[in-house]
Amino acid sequence: MSQDVKVCVLFGFGINCDRETAAVFEMVGGISERIHVNRLVQGERSLSEFDILAVPGGFSFGDHLGSGRLLGNRLRFALREQLQQFVTDGKPIIGICNGFQALVKTGLLPGPADASLEPDLVQRASLTLNNTGRYEDRWVTLEFDSESPCIWTKGIQRIECPVRHGEGRYVMPTEQDLDNLQSSHLLAVRYVDPTTPVGEGIQDELLPFPMSPNGSMRNIAGICDSTGLVFGLMPHPEAFYSMWLHPEHTSMDLDDDWEGEGLQIFRNAVEYVRSQR
């Protein structure tokens, strides 16, 4: 069987992290293609050709009317069947930053409570303006729920990477909504205090700015759906593919190992696809 893992990296309409997202999948052995949304909509290409779907960061449609909403609408209305089929086929999807916002507004994240249910594309959460009211680019420390079903985050404990957003505050209508996700370990990744011991950083109580850059409920940085295949996060792991992108690399003693901490997320998905064959 072919070892090729084909990755569809969406672009167009203001998506702007498509090149680096395509590049990191290539670095971990995937074969990426940047596909304009309309090539899928017009039927020239089909999602079914691919093993992984990545919705990169950017400012789709300028983020007017709320980040990711209009891109989410294009996906929800124009690509509905292809997307549902992709999820039903058990293929991994990642949304990063604006891509995460689009997946949340599409309703793919967090998705229905039960993994056995079809994706219903109903919005259950939102990402809204940072409490600071400002768009900011800064590095944060993330910690992952080790019991999460998320296939993207397997084996990763703590990484640093940049956030670059103005609307990254994850909210849900009730505490119960959050409890449900948390007990199912779908709150896959949270902002943590970098001074805490690794593995003990996750906390529900709101961290102060800038440890939590946006005031997200329970310091949520990213979530997965109940299948563990659909994953979205506000921070940009693709922007830490190499140690030379780390803000303090001039203070570190790095010999030959320059792989950045963000790359493992993408490798996990490529390896997951291979493992399913």
């Binding site: 672009f11 167009g12 309409f13 203001g14 702007n16 992290c17 090149r19 680096e20 590049a23 990191v24 670095m27 304009h36 309309n38 090539r39 017009q42 960061g57 400012f59 449609f61 300028g62 007017h64 009317l65 709320g66 909403r69 209009l70 609408n73 294009r74 209305f77 507004k105 919005q123 939102s126 809204t128 303006l129 409490n131 600071t132 009211g133 400002r134 768009y135 900011e136 680019d137 800064r138 590095w139 670059r164 909210v171 849900m172 209508p173 700015f209 409920m217 940009h236 922007a239 830490f240 593919y241 190499s242 030379w244 992108l245 803000p247 303090e248 690399h249 001039t250 203070s251 790095l254």
Partner: protein
């Protein structure tokens, strides 16, 4: 189905955990800028939908398009302000702000895009507004003033709604902004056979910005018999221009497009040296010739001066280009729109270089009045803090939404920029050396018969006369049509599409539509084939009824002009369709020698290409250098230097700009290796931007800048030398390849043409002469070719004698190769025990220094005069830089920081802040001056480095021949201690230094 207007309003839910952040931001900013707490503010966003759909059809889909079901409430045809569920008590005051007719409404366009997905039938347009409800405004707040802080009357309209009006049901609402219907005027014939005064009047009243000599030259063209015969044959008025032609010539010949001052013949007199000479074009003499000379010695200068940006070969596969522009006048009138148009405009210069380069990095340098200005302000000018916020927001949105990281920049403050802020926007581009069909991508190669497309946005009445307007001084009557708001998403879609078209080898020639609109873009490209034929009737319009000349010269944004071979027509149009980008064929290249413009079948302009481009007569100007007299700066005795250090760190020119710069995305594309902020808390200053633009490859590209307008008060030549040296120093600090650096010169000058309006024009021109001579001297010595540049020559406000002129300012931007980004340096001290060296000599050069200005503002001294920093031996300096760069590239040095504003004391403080560590320093013996001057002097050529003990010997050997001073050691304490032999000069806690440095320009109004 009839067209109807439906109103949708949306407001944030107020349930547990939900917030109204837009309202919070208004409250905080008013507090930060004016010290007024206006209390709780709530926001409502409004959409006016003009379509064939009714409210009852739209209502079920409000949550699909306009409001978020989790965090917002939205409804059709309601006034949320009057809804007691959301506003149980009517707010004290509500300010509602909407756009004036014809002003770009980006949220409206995006909303309409979303609307059409669900409501595809017929035409629809959406206009947006926003309401700020002040729930409990303190008594006595001036309502009109408050509203004025929230909107710009030039482009926006507002409605104030008081509590009383709400309680008595007398609230009014904004309605759809109606454009007045306009009717196309047939082209007029302009009689130029009139008296000279009448020619001048024609130019002035028509905003043509042409002088008498130029008007006469145009008149004479129409007297020529050959011209008349050709015109008769073409079916256009034989002996007089049409308004289309006159407007087209005015744009093409504008100072903005033709750089007439830089091209002028200057009679220069120097009263110091008795020099009396004539200079035939500053540009050709001091900028172009040196670069062309250098081009004979290197093989990497691919394209200089003639294209939209300068191009260098970076490696065998990729070339790099860079361009910087200014957008000063528009930013003065509308800081947000003007600055956004500036950044997205320079992005198009990159997209229009060769066959199209991809923008990969932005740089932004601003010059503003002091943000805490409390002095007089002419009523037509915005307060500097408002200009800062607006310009910053425009550049932030323009850069971030385009997906281009802002990796380097600066903000400079001086009172004289109150009249005219300077907004420099730069962009770096990347392109493959060759395309798939073998063509070199930095060269345009159109042939007659190629089809010319206008791609992207449509043409409207916005942006008419931008080029000629920027060639005039700013007055109360400056036209609002010169202001535009950029639309980054339309441009992003266009950019995606054109880069795909380039890679598919579909483009033969391209350029951007900036100043002068189609007349400039097609006009310039027509030089390649020697002719073109345009049909203005085909140009897609934002509104019907524009006259021919308006269509030709409108500078409506987000447009590129692209030439395509007829065989590629279908493929090109299919690509545009895929990307939802409008591309319309509006012209054809010819080889007739004529710029031939038709509107339908009617010929409305018929100008020889040579006359259009080369017909403008050379200006002849007078220059006289009389050195300005300044009272000498004499350092006060007995100053507390530690306290002075804290004050200096809080000077706006020195203070951290972190809260501003963090709002730019500096990491998109995943390539930024040295970021704007470095160190353990990621808040120390970065010297230069360093990127690794090819994913996975460690070859780097350095982008840096230098700007030093203070020195112009004494000598504009010294100002230029200092700016270049600063850019180079910054680049050296991250390990630039000294043998592959290129530069951009961007001059911003006050009007240097002597006239009644400008009685000191000769002096200002002499400043320009000196500046250019230093540019040539230093660039030749540094082997640093200028590959592109720009000048903006009318940076004045008001009328003599109450004129505010900016200090002559040149931004020097540098881009250069860096061999391996894994070996670079940052400014923060790393470890206790590192040895600290100062490279370079500290002279007694405190003239026009930051400390001199500070002490004068404090009233401690009365003069800033004295010796400005000189660069006496740039050839020797280059060798020092080469050694230091090599030391960084070899991994010996990982800490380096340039000494500039505030001298050594500030450089050391910043290095401690970045490392959150102390240092013990002794400045004995680093230079000839007294202790004060050794601390604060701004001598050029100096860089502070720290080196690990194990590398110290190798480093010192490598630097042999350089003026190297061991000045101290990084300490384990949290104290910066600076001594001069046995005297303690400065003893300061690093946390306190950090607080001073970071607090001054925070301006966030605190969080929560």
């Amino acid at each position: 189905m009839s067209v109807q207007d439906v109103r949708v309003e949306v407001t944030p839910l107020q349930t547990e955990g939900m917030r109204d952040v837009l309202g919070d931001v208004v409250q905080r900013q008013l507090f930060a800028d004016h010290g007024i707490d206006v209390g709780k503010v709530r926001s409502i966003r409004g959409y006016l939908i003009r379509s064939t759909y009714s409210a009852s059809e739209i209502e079920p889909h409000v949550q699909d398009i306009f409001s978020d079901p989790i965090i917002e409430f939205g409804a059709t045809n309601t006034s949320l302000l009057e809804d007691q569920n959301f506003f149980p008590i009517p707010p004290s005051l509500t300010v509602t702000v909407g756009f004036k007719p014809g002003v770009t409404d980006n949220p409206g366009a995006a909303a309409n895009d979303g609307f059409k997905v669900l409501f595809p039938e017929g035409e629809s347009t959406i206009s947006t507004y926003i309401s700020y409800a002040f729930l409990e405004l303190p008594d006595g707040t001036d309502h009109t003033w408050l509203a004025s802080t929230l909107f710009n009357g030039l482009i926006e309209k507002s409605i104030l709604t008081t509590k009383e009006q709400l309680e008595t049901n007398q609230a009014t609402h904004l309605t759809f902004p109606e454009r007045p219907t306009i009717v196309r005027q047939a082209p007029a014939i302009i009689n130029l056979e009139v008296a000279d005064e009448e020619l001048v009047r024609l130019s002035n009243e028509g905003l043509l910005a042409l002088n008498l000599n130029e008007m006469q030259t145009i008149r004479d063209h129409y007297r020529d018999e050959a011209t008349r015969t050709a015109r008769t044959n073409a079916g256009i008025s034989p002996d007089a221009p049409t308004d289309v032609e006159l407007e087209c010539l005015a744009q093409t010949w504008s100072e903005h497009c033709k750089h007439k001052i830089f091209a002028s013949k200057i009679h220069h007199v120097d009263t110091e040296t008795n020099e009396d000479t004539t200079i035939d074009s500053l540009f050709k003499t001091h900028i172009m010739k040196p670069t062309h000379d250098m081009a004979k010695e290197v093989d990497w200068l691919l394209s200089v001066f003639h294209d939209n940006s300068g191009v260098i070969a970076w490696n065998d596969d990729w070339s790099i280009c860079m361009k910087a522009e200014t957008h000063n006048s528009p930013s003065a009138l509308d800081p947000y729109g003007g600055a956004m148009t500036g950044i997205v405009g320079v992005n198009r210069d990159i997209l229009g270089t060769g066959l199209g380069a991809r923008p990969i990095a932005n740089t932004d340098v601003f010059c503003f009045g002091p943000p805490d200005w409390t002095g007089e302000l002419p009523s037509t000018l915005f307060h500097p803090s408002r200009v800062l916020r607006g310009v910053h927001a425009g550049v932030r949105v323009g850069g971030n939404e385009s997906g281009i990281p802002t990796i380097n920049g600066s903000i400079v403050f001086d009172e004289r920029y109150i009249g005219k802020p300077l907004v420099y926007c730069g962009t770096v581009g990347l392109m493959p050396r060759r395309l798939a069909d073998g063509r070199e991508s930095h060269e345009k190669n159109p042939t007659p018969g190629d089809l010319v497309y206008m791609v992207g946005g449509r043409v409207g009445s916005d942006g008419i006369h931008g080029a000629t307007f920027s060639s005039l001084e700013l007055t109360d009557e400056s036209p609002s049509s010169a202001v535009q708001i950029g639309d980054p998403i339309t441009q992003k879609k266009m950019m995606d599409m054109l880069l795909e078209a380039r890679d598919a080898c579909l483009i033969t020639c391209t350029t951007d539509n900036g100043a002068g609109g189609l007349s400039s873009s097609i006009g310039e490209m027509a030089e390649y084939t020697n002719g073109c034929e345009i049909d203005l009737g085909k140009v897609p319009l934002k509104q019907q009824g524009l006259s021919s000349w308006e269509i030709l010269v409108s500078e409506s944004q987000e447009r590129m002009t692209v030439a395509v071979s007829p065989k590629d027509k279908d493929a090109f149009e299919a690509l545009a369709n895929l990307h939802e980008v409008e591309a319309t064929q509006v012209a054809t290249f010819t080889d007739t020698g004529y710029f031939h413009v038709k509107h339908g079948e009617e010929t409305v302009a018929y100008l020889p290409i040579t006359f259009l481009h080369d017909g403008v007569p050379q200006l002849e100007l007078e220059s006289e250098w009389i050195p300005p007299q300044h009272e000498l700066f004499i350092a006060p005795t007995g100053l507390d230097q530690s306290k002075l250090l804290m004050e200096m760190l809080a000077r706006p020119n020195i203070a951290s700009k972190e809260t501003w710069v963090r709002q730019y995305d500096h990491e998109v594309i995943a390539q930024t290796v040295v970021k704007p902020f470095v160190g353990v808390e990621r808040d120390g200053p970065g010297d230069a931007g360093l990127i690794a633009p090819i994913h996975g490859d460690s070859q780097g590209l350095v982008i840096s800048c230098g700007i030093a307008p203070r020195y112009s008060d004494i000598d504009a030549g010294a100002m230029v030398a200092a700016s270049i040296d600063e850019a180079v120093r910054n680049a050296v600090c991250v390990g630039v390849d000294i043998d592959k650096m290129a530069g951009l010169d961007n001059f911003c000058w006050p009007d240097p043409i002597e006239s009644e309006k400008t009685p000191d024009g000769k002096f200002k021109l002499a400043q320009l002469v000196r500046a250019n001579r230093e540019l040539e001297r230093v660039c030749r010595a540094y082997r640093l070719p200028c590959v592109s540049g720009k000048d903006s020559m009318k940076n004045d406000y008001g009328v003599w004698p109450n004129k505010i002129s900016i200090p002559p300012t040149m931004l020097f931007s540098l881009f250069g190769n860096q061999p391996d980004v894994r070996k670079t340096a940052t400014s923060n001290f790393k470890h206790h025990g590192e040895r600290i060296y100062l490279v370079g000599t500290t002279y007694d050069e405190l003239g026009a220094s930051e400390v001199a200005f500070h002490l004068r503002e404090r009233g401690e001294v009365s003069g800033i005069g004295g010796q400005v920093p000189l660069l006496e031996n740039p050839e020797g300096q280059l060798e020092v830089y080469r050694k230091l760069s090599t030391a960084i590239q070899s991994g010996l040095i990982r800490t380096a920081h340039d000494c500039s504003e505030g001298g050594l004391a500030i450089a050391l403080a910043e290095m401690c802040i970045g490392g959150r560590c102390g240092a013990f320093i002794d400045i004995d013996g680093i230079g000839p001056g007294d202790a004060f001057s050794r601390l604060w002097s701004e001598s050029l050529g100096r860089i502070v480095v720290s080196v690990e003990a194990e590398h110290e010997v190798a480093f010192v050997e490598m630097m042999e021949g350089a003026d190297l001073h061991l000045i101290g050691m990084v300490s384990a304490s949290s104290e910066l201690l600076i001594e001069d032999g046995y005297d303690t000069l400065i003893q300061a806690d690093v946390e306190q230094l950090t607080e001073s440095w970071k607090g001054a320009l925070d301006m966030t109004g605190a969080i929560e």
